[in-house]
Symmetry: C2
Subunit: 339 residues, 2 copies
Amino acid sequence: PSETHRNAAEARQNTLTKPPGSLGALERIAIQLAALQETERPCADNVQIVLFAGDHGVTAQGISAFPSAVTVEMLRNFASGGAAISVLARKLDARLEVVDAGTLATSEVAGVVTDKPCHGTRDFATTPAMTPDETAFAFDTGRRAVARTVDRGAHLLIFGEMGIGNTTSAAAVAAALLGKAANDLVGAGTGLDSDGIRHKARVIDAALDLHGLKAPDVPAADVLMKVGGLEIAALAGAIVAAAQSRIPVLVDGFIVTAAALAATRLNPSCADWLIYSHRSSEQGHRLILEALDAEPLLDLKMRLGEGSGAAVALSVVRLACALHGEMATFAEAHVSESL
Amino acid sequence: PSETHRNAAEARQNTLTKPPGSLGALERIAIQLAALQETERPCADNVQIVLFAGDHGVTAQGISAFPSAVTVEMLRNFASGGAAISVLARKLDARLEVVDAGTLATSEVAGVVTDKPCHGTRDFATTPAMTPDETAFAFDTGRRAVARTVDRGAHLLIFGEMGIGNTTSAAAVAAALLGKAANDLVGAGTGLDSDGIRHKARVIDAALDLHGLKAPDVPAADVLMKVGGLEIAALAGAIVAAAQSRIPVLVDGFIVTAAALAATRLNPSCADWLIYSHRSSEQGHRLILEALDAEPLLDLKMRLGEGSGAAVALSVVRLACALHGEMATFAEAHVSESL
């Protein structure tokens, strides 16, 4: 990020015809984006959304309200335009690419990029979710997705995810990386009741014990391999690659934020490139956001995933850019300044 | 509001390809709008913004960080497209009408509708802000603005305001209507320091004493006349007229919410037609929102007025409508439902 452009954007905000600071978070976002894009007038018109899907062996433990079959069924729904993120991408005129990063699908789904090392992870309640090779492949799935977007000149990237069982995997990853109890990080996912949530916490807790992930400072790559998911490793790879390509990322909800936490452990400097879109109602999100020192724009009690929270926030980010770039200054408008 | 359409919209939400409730506030807003528009699929494409401007005699007490001249200077800025609300209206493809409801301007400003009984209010620290006739005129200014929009078929109305000194007037109106101390309702306005805020509270407190507005259940019309403003009375009139025309209103920040409180006292049934857009960082807003049992969509620490918070929220309301209307159902997409 460029301090010169951050300062120029901040100075511009203070000349616009409004009381200083009165646009609140919209000023902060415009200034952050100006520093990242190295311009006085940031822009979020050209946006690429990449959604990574994967299946999870841990669903064998009965930790989800929906069956695994839904992951592949939803791949088709994304491609045919009926899912939430499909509707949002269309309305926002953003490109949507859906990547099968490791679902149970045994053949290619039309309109979906297939880039996976295997069909779903193993059940981490009994064995590591992935091999080292599978983990590295999944990480590179994310890198390859970013490489495909670079030529399209995106001002901003949004990463989304879908995968029955992935709030369990994301909670396990976050608990291990933050050294917290599973209980602090589990939530209802797609719709567990309180008994289901307690069971999910017990499954995670036992797995962290089994894999030796309760020690301090466990390496993020090890955590991703043992209790992560193919789409979660892909998200981490995509976030690191976006930062290395100097493209800001509008971070979605619980699962993407857990992947962002892993990415910042793998490569701390990628933290600068993350803009936090919303606080989800999935219980553990707040804790991960605090650990990342993140101040999300929205709090709409969403808990869908797919990148949907980031997509909704994109509409606000675009207005922040428009205000920053198009409002008149006090001098231009001949308006008196403060007494 | 139609219970039939509310129920149909709620039922539709539960058939869409997402965990029930996972779109959070976006579901609530789509359902509320469906009930108000008497349709299963609500829409917020056609939107009219009306901004009412007025000046305030109480600025003589030194309660604002900006001089009164700014109100008229900003009228020109609204009309020429350089103000925040001008930029937002343009980006959102919403119509913006600016009404001089009582500024100090002595001639018409190009691009602004002039509809005022006098040039600014009197200083309510020493005398009632308006006469009964002026108050009635201002109320009708709001009604006339709504009448002008009815033929244009707006799905939703946004009312904004501008007027140096008007957070002082709005805080006085709210304190009187809620029976609260001035101290609970004053904030920094355009940028007072803590000494300035204390002084502003003392001015309001003394005025409420002077005008006998500390009694319980003072009539809203009396409050508007004695410590209100021309644009605040116009806002109250516009809100009542919108509800009577069965057009939902997306309520902006502190001043519009204070006017909405007055409107609901004048005509309680207009409360049904109000959708709350954001919580502003003006201190007293939270208290007025609570009194109205309002749950705003956004909390972006904005405190600009002009209708800007409601305009930003409009982008989210539109996405809520798109998701509600365009997502596939489980049946349409052949996706399995919950276990």
